[in-house]
């Protein structure tokens, strides 16, 4: 039986869960013997295989339309979807932005901050994704496994049934 394929990606998170995944240190060698790690932000491949992977892991919540697209793509191409970390499971720290209006947050960051000169303006290029309410991954796609933690404790990644 071939090794199960795993793809990961990060959304509106801090990459801490990926870092704590790397914190399993030498045990990653044993993990790679059992599992085929395909695409992830820390490997060369960047998109989950079009032919599908077995396990998809998403870190970080959904906070703009680009994250929604990535979540939908991952859900379509994987059999088991794992939400890794507090941000993916229920929104996490970035969800604190939901207490404010998005326009206020953008204005504070791009126009009003003390380190911005008088020409500060909010980026509005059509290429950019539109910020939305910060949501958990499960509010956008169906999630099979939830692994909370801020960040997830190293070693928890090994416990999950692959």
């Amino acid at each position: 039986m071939s090794k199960p394929k795993v793809a990961t990606d990060w959304l509106a998170g801090c990459a801490g869960c990926h870092m704590s995944f790397l914190d399993i240190d030498e045990r990653i060698v044993n993990l790679i013997e059992l599992v085929d790690l395909r695409s992830s932000p820390i490997t060369d491949l960047k998109e989950p295989d079009p032919s599908g992977v077995d396990v998809g892991i998403l870190e970080g919540g959904i906070n703009n339309t680009a994250n929604e697209e990535v979540a939908h793509k991952m859900r379509k191409r994987c059999k088991i979807l794992v939400a890794l970390g507090d941000c993916a499971v229920f929104g996490g720290v970035p969800a604190m932005r939901n207490f404010f209006k998005i326009e206020d947050a953008l204005r504070r960051a791009y126009v009003e901050t003390e380190s911005t000169d008088a020409e500060g303006k909010i980026p509005n290029d059509p290429e950019l994704a539109k910020p939305t309410r910060v949501r958990a991954v499960s509010e956008v796609v169906k999630v099979d496994v939830f692994v909370p933690g801020l960040p997830t404790q190293r070693g928890h990644h090994l416990l999950r049934p692959e």
């Binding site: 801090c14 990459a15 801490g16 703009n64 998005i102 206020d104 953008l106 504070r108 960051a109 290429e127």
Partner: protein
């Protein structure tokens, strides 16, 4: 991976970064580069939602900015908070924590705590001082 349409080249995602970025290069009709953009597709609004929070919550909130920031943003906010809350540095003579009896000897007011971890017992469980007070 790069996609090329008639007037625009998109390189997405940008690798070797924490976060999301893409590059679009707009070409004019002659096929020459007209504009090139670096788009950062990530905005979370820390500047706004930290307003109104308690100062001692900052060491918990700001490390969530990026995983690589997790260490340095865990020490900088507490030192700032320490300055505002008048937390004693080692040997300081005007500690306001009057109820602290740790490290005080015979009613002397200088904080003689030699073990920085000992301070966690007077200010709760948050470690607030690194072993070396090189910035104190």
């Amino acid at each position: 991976m790069a996609t090329v349409t008639t007037q625009k080249i998109t390189i997405e995602p940008v690798t070797r970064i924490e976060g999301h970025a893409k590059i679009t290069i707009r070409l004019n009709e002659a096929g020459k580069v007209e504009r090139a953009y670096l788009h950062i597709n990530e905005f979370r609004g820390f500047e706004k939602f930290c307003e109104g929070r308690m100062a001692f919550e900052m060491p918990v909130i700001t490390p969530a900015f990026a995983a690589s920031a997790r260490f340095r943003t865990t020490w900088a906010p507490p030192r700032l908070v320490m300055t505002f809350m008048a937390v004693p540095r080692h040997g300081q003579h005007n500690c306001y924590a009057n109820s602290c009896t740790w490290g005080r000897s015979s009613k002397a007011t200088a904080c003689t705590s030699l073990n920085w971890q000992a301070l966690t017992s007077c200010w709760g469980s948050m470690p607030i001082r690194p072993p070396a007070t090189w910035w104190a």
